[in-house]
Amino acid sequence: MAEMQNSNPTILNAADLPTRLRPTTTRKSEYGGIFTSALPLAPVDFESPPSSDSEDDNLLEEPIDEQEIYDLISSISDPEHPISLGELAVVSLPDIMIKPTLPDVPDSPLQTVTVLITPTITHCSLATVIGLGVRVRLEQSLPSRFRMDVRIKEGTHSTGDEVNKQLADKERVAAALENGALMGVIAKMMETCH
């Protein structure tokens, strides 16, 4: 392995990363807490089990939001360290935007996801690889009505424009994905996705 470019980056505490708070448990049963283990619900035979997903819940739609995008990409590992992009603050929740692709056509389902990447140091040559990794992960994980826009955050990289050009160029991305060695690196980065 080549010499590391940034061997001692700052790391965020995993407990401080943004997470989706569980919807405050509406205490349907009286005992939501520890007593459920002591007191299993009164046994019910010969009746369909109390289904947790009632009709109302089933119809409630949960659209794809920024937190969901964050959850998809924050667990990707950095190619240099066995640490996640979230912990390294390479990706962060405020730097993810979802907007309608065609604002003038209100009925269009097309949406654009913008992800801004902040490399750990301004001359990181792996920024392209990270960008590509994020892009591949999103392409594998989002429905086809989403457009990806993965860019280096302005002012965080010495050759940001150059990298952005590569990431935005569909043909170059496609060519890169044909490259076995590069795909090997990206597959390794995505092993930690869960």
Binding site: S7, P9, A15, G33, A42, E62, I64, I83, M190
Partner: protein
Amino acid sequence: MSALQTFMLVVDHDKEEAKRIAEGSAHDIEIKKVTLLDTVQSLGEYINDEDPILRGKAISFLTAIIQALSPKYLSRQQIQVLTTFFCDRIEDGGAVDGLQALQGLDRFNKFLATQVAQALFSNFQDLQSRSQTQRFHVYELLNDLMSNHRGAMRDMGDISLLGVVDIMTGEKDPRNLMIVFSILKVVMVEWDISNHVETLFDSVYNYFPITFRPPPNDPYGITAQDLKGRLQECISSTRHFAPHSIPALLDKLDSTSPNVKKDALNALIACIHLYDPDTVSRYSITIWGVLKFEILNAQEEFLSEASLEALQAIAQRLSEGVTEVSQELPLAKYLQPITKECNEQLREPQNKKANPAQSILSCVSAASPVSFVLVVQTVVPPIFTLYQEADGIVKQRALLETLNVLFDSATTVFGQWTTRGGEAAIENPLLEFKDQFSDLFGQVLMGAAKEEVSFRVTALKGFLRLSTLRDYFQENEIGLFVQYLDEILLKEESVGRDDLKKEAIAALAEISKHKPRLIVDITFPAFVATLPEEDEGSDARYLPTLETLAQISVERDIFETLFRRLFSKLSVLLQKEEPGSVAYPRAILATLLYVMQQRNMEQDQSVDLYFDKVVVGLCRDVAASASGKTKNRILNDPTVLDTLGRLCNLLVRSVSIQKQEQVAENVYSLFSAAGDFVPLPFTQTREADRERTIIISTYLLAGLSKDYGNKIPHTDPDMAGLLLDLIYRCVLSTEPATHQAYLRHLALLVNKFLSKQDVPIAERLIDSLLEGENTELQSLSPPIIRTIFWLSKALILRLAPATTHILTSLLALLSSPDQETSATAAQGFSIILGEDDIISATNGATIRLLCRQRLFTTVIPLISTRIREVNIAGTDGSHPTPKAPDHIKPAHLTALAGILSTIPTALVMPELPTLLPLLLQSLDLQTADSVAVRTATLDTLAVIILDNGVTVIDRCGHVQSLVTRLLKTTSTNIGPGAVNSPRLRADALKCLNLLATHQVPGAASNAPPGISPLLPVKNQVLRSLRAVLDDPKRNVRKAAVDARAAWLRCVDDAPDEEE
């Protein structure tokens, strides 16, 4: 032909015969028929033959005779003559074995041992050109000489040392090396090796690292690990090796192979443990210099762990015999560069390398009290300075975490309050900072902004460690911490996931083990004071308080207090005219139940007191309440009775024999006096309040030991009447809780207390219930069906003689033309083997091991056949059978799903070819009422795939059909009347995910051998899942993302060739 000639003829092909011949000759010698001399002389014509094979056979004859002679037979002189004879011909086959036999004799002396050794060393210079077996025999002889005549060997000094090294040099066979290494280790430890250290070291180190891989089916069973172990023992055997071994091993850490590095580190650790402290000290700083890179730039976790272990081992060795702290100690010199480096890294405590620096401090400071003092002296003051200058909470928290690491080491070194013995002779250096710590951690815990949860949690954890650290805080200082925790739990609003409150409860529970008094004196009054007299509103604020109390009251003293306080609350409630919601008394009972479940009540000395108060006292109250003689209706509520019943059940199980007898007699009277309450059985009452007492009776009965069955009322001369009365009540009762209790009560009596010879009584009862069928419609009412199933459960679990007959009758119900009968019966099958809180092993129910197997093997073929009949009747027009009603197939599939959910997969696997088509048909069901069946089916499939991989499904030829059905189940848009609930969709995706990740049975594997059976469907799966990525439900999308990633990653046409 002479014995010798016969021996030489057969020795090659018949070892047994050869042995017999030699034994005959030995016998002749022992009875003095021939002399030993004659026998030796008879060899004469062969032992000088040109042909070495012939010579070898002749010598072997002599060897075989010696081996057969009794150990006392040979005289000293004879041994001497024979030894010389063998030594002269040592290169001939059999001579080495002869010598081996001779050296084991008592009369073999030191002088002869030297002679043999010398003969070995001078004649086997070319040993490595001989066969493996020959070499093996030579090493064995040498090994025996080493163990039986070590003094003689050692007195040979350099001759034996060099001799051994010479003959083994170049040895490659693993079996031989195992012996060679153990011979060499003896030389290394016991000989004076000062002139030949390097020779000796090289002789073994040449083999490092061991790369041996045993061949498949290796008959000798020697593993690489065996060899590594022996080699490591040699390398670490003597401190004289240090100048060679330590630099060489450190060099090996430059290797690119993690395995080589691991071996080198393990050997290094062994050296540190076995060389003397002075030697270790000499190399300590060099070792640190190399290992720090392994830790700070960790490549593999196991390498950094081994490196940390080495660093700690050095600190431990250097602490040996040290009683006073001084900067002149070798230990201090060793720790100096370490703490310096760590301090350096900790300046930016939020950076990546701070973490390994913490680990280093953790392991060296935990090595010994002296080591801890030295580390604390240099590390703690700078942390305080850094903390003052820190520009943000992130950095401050990282610094607190470093302190927490040191507190852990302090706990290792000085123990906790509950640790017995082993007080350290040195004062805890943290005492100096006691007030500073208390202020700092207290201020962060209580003073930091409420939303800085992880910062406050870190402070809480540190405070807790200091509070449990032996002889550190005073009681009042820990008391202050307890007050902080109380305040957090009682006064603060919930934030986010409530991590802080969870930690606070855990901390109080931890302190309760060390300082129970503080909990009783401080926490209890504060918490109990917030409990209301009665539940007035709907907010149930008492629940979190009770939950907390439950979790901190497991210690004996605290539990007694808890019981007293809560029981008096409950008594007050029971006396009130308007006691508010029954949820409150129920929660109080649940709290007591929870804690009793955590404790071992049988060992509790106060169990009789609890028994009298709860079982006797409250049961009496229940009886009074049932007769309408109480001020309120708390004890008429079924949920309260259920909780109280569980509490009674637990206590009944824990009490003495006498009390059990008492319970048996009072199962129905509930300890009340004869006039006050009429026990339930055989009364005509239909009053709901009276009937509800069966809930308590059932729990009492469940806790009772089998042995007191005869004390239960109404069981003499047999139970027939009681059972009939209960069946009558099962069928007629309308309130669900009462109905459930009757069913279980009935099953309990039949399963646990009905004597073996009376089992037919119950079997007859089932038959008569089945006969009650309405002949016209072939229908039975649901309560009757339930009663039948519970009776069946009781009998099947004890494998009653009629088990098969019962099962066939139950299956017949599924084919009833009455839809309700069929559907109710279908749901009943999950009951038979289903877990139940009352009919359970804990309660001593009779559950035979083979009942699951019996049920499964009886029922599955019948269901399979029946479904096939139904399928054929539907499709084949020429077939005379009329088409069966539509509900019959789903009913059978529901029954199947119910059974599968209660059977371990190991039993399922042999039947998989029969079963899989049935499971696939279950997935074909589409309507809303089939959701439960499909969910159960997916659960079963998931377990099958998890345990056995794709191969079993491939072997049945169902991969394509399974995948297609799973994909169909993931879709939201499947036509009118069809429903895939979100849970179903997610479960189907989970199965798809498991297919890809478990292509090989057992472990998740990334590279399946050969071409994956999933490959033909890969594109279909990826295409279909793309649509599922847009599912309206988030957790379904998540499952789809994971499944898709798994298929992209794991389903490949060929295994990776690189690895």
